[in-house]
């Protein structure tokens, strides 16, 4: 099997280093300021947002600050780089013979910015420039100094649009990775919250951070993740979705094996369970791994609401996903193959509805499902202002009019509408998308082989899911493999005081979360009163 795949997809022989040929001309900095600046502007294609500010430093040293306009804080450059150097220049106006230590002098005694660094090679210097550093150069220096003045434009922290809650924190991740890390750190103030950084993407140079709780997360998972991250050699990472496809266990599956979320509280909760978070700069969607199938049905609100209603809601979500996968195919199978399964009165009413419909049930369902998918896609792209037009067209024209025109039966409209609504119940959007795809396959199976086809399809899915793993964790944990201890937070959600251990297999061994006798009790005095009565 593997051999065949290899043969049909030969590895591309193109070297990934093509783009950096420009940087190979001269990598060393020269001692001439003028030459260095020219080289920088040559290498950056004379881009107009590279700003060079030349001035005279102490001991009549001619200097320049180079920075990327828009990526840096200009006030900071003015106040903490240029101003201190100029005032030092006023204090020491005379030229001195020995300028050898001017570099350390400026770095240690004059500059008032936070982080400075020394770069010996030109490509590094330019990279630092594009990361939002101000680069300080001077006549006679064979090295450049970088000072971190990065200030990218970013959105402020607002409520996440894709996962809103009634009760619970309302802040969401932003596109800025440092803000996102701060949002998590604010929730877990522990030195054990470790952060490992990687820069991925040869061109985009995207910051990627791995966040986990040392001692709680499994080292094997973290190591495996880092191994997979280090293996990536691509030109760009623009969103965590890019990364997801590189690091997931299996690509050819309908099921997501990583969860993504916009909610800092979900991520914090996941980290406390021993999961690992992967943050990517430039997107509010944080990846969480490893996950199991049942994690997709957990909303962070489950932990804030009462446990009984949370349990009920989880069961409801399972049923909703099942409905959104199965309902149209079951309807097709029953109306085409197994009419005897329906109670007689229902059968008669269905038959009466379908009397004037010219198409077979499968075609009817397919038509309506596709219509719905189109409506939904249009709804996302449509400008808000004309959004209401879509609902009118969708509901009245395509729903009611289609029934009246005798194109589809009313029952089919109900089935499709119910399916559509059900698919929005599941909190994780990516598993709902899987259900959408599976729905069409099952409809086809139901139309050709009836119940038998649907069952075969489901059995296939079951075998497939049993074989799936997310970073080594079987996908259907805790059901198969059966892990009784994890049931407390999978289908049901037990009260907080009963969650004494962290989930096994996901968290490291020996995961005791809290003391085991934390059940709240009425105060002693109340009890005594009761006995007196």
């Amino acid at each position: 099997m593997k051999k065949i795949l290899k043969r049909s997809f030969p590895k591309d022989k193109i070297s990934p280093q093509q783009e950096s040929e420009a940087g190979e001309r001269t990598t060393e900095l020269s001692r001439s300021l003028q030459q260095n600046i020219e080289q920088i502007s040559d290498l950056t294609g004379h881009s107009s947002d590279i700003t060079v500010r030349a001035f005279e430093g102490p001991y009549q040293l001619s200097m320049a600050v180079v920075y990327l306009n828009g990526a840096t804080d200009i006030e900071m450059i003015n106040d903490h780089i240029i101003k201190p150097i100029l005032s030092a220049a006023e204090a020491n106006p005379d030229s001195e013979e020995d300028l050898a230590d001017s570099f350390t002098l400026i770095q240690k005694k004059i500059l008032t910015v936070g982080a400075t660094n020394t770069k010996m090679r030109l490509p590094e210097l330019i990279q630092a420039l594009y990361n939002g550093n101000a680069v300080i150069l001077a006549e006679g220096w064979d090295r450049g100094m970088t000072a971190n003045c990065a200030k990218w434009e970013h959105r402020s922290v607002v409520e996440p649009s894709s996962q809103s809650v009634v009760r619970g924190p309302k802040d969401g991740f932003t596109e800025d990775i440092n803000t996102n890390i701060a949002l998590i750190r604010r929730r877990i103030k522990s030195p054990n919250l470790w952060k490992i950084d990687r820069i991925i993407g040869r061109i985009t140079q995207t910051d990627v951070s791995v966040l986990y709780l040392k001692g709680v997360a499994r080292d094997s998972v973290v190591n495996e993740l880092l191994k997979r991250l280090d293996r990536i050699d691509t030109d760009s990472i623009l969103e965590s979705g890019y990364l997801e496809e590189f690091i997931q266990d299996q690509t050819f599956t309908l099921f997501p094996t990583l969860i993504n979320t916009e909610r800092p509280d979900s991520v914090a909760g996941a980290i406390l369970d021993g999961q690992v978070a992967v943050l990517v700069d430039g997107t509010p969607f944080v990846l969480v791994l490893p996950v199991t199938f049942f994690k997709f049905f957990i909303a962070s609100e489950d932990y804030y609401e009462r446990f009984d209603i949370s349990t009920l809601l989880r069961i409801l979500r399972f049923s909703a996903l099942t409905i959104s996968m199965l309902l149209p195919s079951l309807y097709i199978a029953i109306t085409t193959f197994h009419q005897e399964l329906l109670p007689t009165t229902l059968l008669v009413s269905l038959a009466a509805q379908r009397e004037g419909v010219p198409f077979p049930a499968f075609f009817e369902a397919l038509m309506m499902e596709i219509t719905f998918e189109i409506l939904r896609e249009a709804g996302i792209r449509l400008p808000r202002v004309i959004g209401s037009a879509i609902s009118i067209v969708g509901a009245l024209v395509l729903g009611q009019a289609a029934v009246q025109a005798g194109l589809v039966s009313a029952a089919m409209v109900i089935v499709v509408a119910f399916t559509a609504i059900s698919s929005f119940v599941v909190p994780a959007l990516n598993i709902a998308i899987s259900a959408r795809l599976i729905r069409f396959i099952l409809m086809l199976l139901g139309a050709t082989l009836g119940m038998f086809g649907i069952m075969s399809g489901l059995l296939f899915l079951l075998i497939h899911m049993s074989g799936l793993r997310s970073f080594g964790i079987p996908y259907l944990t805790p059901l198969s493999p059966f892990v009784p201890g994890n049931w407390k937070d999978a289908f049901v959600r037990v009260p907080r005081w009963m969650m004494t251990t962290r989930p096994r297999l996901i968290a490291a061994e020996n995961g005791i979360r809290q003391k085991s006798n934390l059940q709240p009790e009425p105060p002693e005095t109340e009890e005594k009163k009761g006995t007196k009565r």
Binding site: L341, T345, F452, S456, L459, I463, H464, L476, P481
Partner: protein, 363 residues
């Protein structure tokens, strides 16, 4: 080597033994005492299970084929090993054909049988190709649902009042003889003696200490479910109807009616039947493939397609279901397949193991 957990082993034993057994009325030759046949079959079959377990415990890291080669010598051992591999494939083939015929009979009357059997075979191949561990996890997933649905059926029998326990009377009308005869000739071998197939899988258990406990518990849970379904079918249909019916469980379930809401529970039966046969056919198939791989000492995935194709093609040999059943009876009774493979050879093996074991200890 792939490892399976005690839960996976236990659930697989339960599903494998249940298989499609509750669909048919075990021991109906003993008329209204069929339920006693199940109990005696289960208890006598337990002795066989104890022997299989004893064999496994003497060689905890080896499968049946490896043990045979070790104790019968390379030639005789391999020969017997081949017989077992063929018999496993044969059992799988029987399940596949049963499945095709019953599906056509019950839900898809106009679909060609080759398609139905092909789909089942492809699913089996897929499951085995994914690996033993994955297949055992499938069983783990299904077991809860299967037992739950069987219990639902039992509860429904009683709620709707179709169950009439007095159909079991008179107990022991013809004495104990027909019961013993029936259980010794049939029910201890099918399904209970088929526990033998786990000699191919027990060595994969990750915690060897749990071997006997898990297996015995699972054996009795499965036995209880079979007994329950057997008895309820009997008290719903009565011995006469149960005897002539092709699929007694289906017929019994069709009597359940809660007017207006649930009038047909057939789907549930088909569901149970599907999962039962799938598990059973695939496990026999897997045993055959594993045995073959151990005879040739290579990876078992190499043989999946070959054995699968053979099982699929041989399933077409009987021209119709009647002859399929007839062949089954001939093989089982004329050639004494079950007693020889499930009783005599393992017994012989065990005796040799005992003698050799003593010899070793003495030496």
């Amino acid at each position: 080597m792939e490892k399976i957990s005690k839960y996976q082993l236990g659930t697989m034993i339960i599903l494998f033994l249940i298989g499609s057994t509750p669909l048919f009325e075990l021991g109906i030759k003993a008329k209204q005492d069929a339920w006693l046949v199940v109990i005696t079959g289960m208890l006598i079959g337990f002795l066989l299970v104890l022997m299989f377990l004893a064999i496994q415990r003497r060689e905890p890291d080896h499968t049946l084929v490896q043990i045979l080669i070790q104790y019968f010598g390379p030639y005789a051992g391999k020969f017997v090993g081949w017989i077992y591999v063929v018999s496993f494939a044969y059992e799988s083939m029987r399940n596949v054909r049963d499945f095709g015929e019953l599906t056509i009979m019950t839900i898809l009357s106009r679909t060609p049988i080759f398609l139905i059997m092909l789909i089942l075979m492809l699913l089996s191949i897929y499951a085995i190709y994914k690996g033993m561990e994955v297949f055992f996890r499938v069983a783990e997933f299904l077991v809860g649902g299967v037992i739950f649905f069987y219990l639902v059926l039992v509860v429904m029998y009683f709620i709707t009042g179709v169950a009439q326990p007095d159909k079991l009377l008179p107990v022991l009308e013809n004495g104990i003889r027909p019961i013993l005869q029936e259980s010794l000739s049939r029910s201890i071998w099918f399904p209970f003696g088929q526990m033998m197939v786990f000699l191919m899988f027990w060595s994969h258990l990750d915690d060897k200490k749990k071997l006997s406990g898990t297996s015995i518990r699972a054996y009795f849970i499965a036995g209880f479910v079979i007994f329950l379904m057997n008895t309820t079918t009997l008290i719903v249909l009565g011995p006469q109807v149960a005897d002539i019916s092709t699929v007694p469980l289906l017929q019994a379930v069709q009597l359940i009616q809660i007017p207006g809401i649930f009038e047909r529970f057939d789907v549930l039966v088909i569901l149970l039947f599907y999962s039962g046969i799938f598990i059973k056919a695939t496990l026999w198939f897997l045993a055959a493939v594993l045995g073959l791989a151990q005879l040739f000492q290579t990876d078992y995935r190499r043989f999946v397609f070959l054995v699968g194709a053979l099982i699929y093609l041989t399933a077409f040999i009987p021209p119709n279901w009647q002859s399929h059943l007839e062949i089954g009876t001939i093989v089982a009774e004329k050639f004494m397949l079950n007693p020889i493979l499930l009783g005599i050879i393992p017994g012989l093996l065990f005796v040799i193991m005992l003698i050799r074991g003593r010899g070793k200890r003495a030496g």
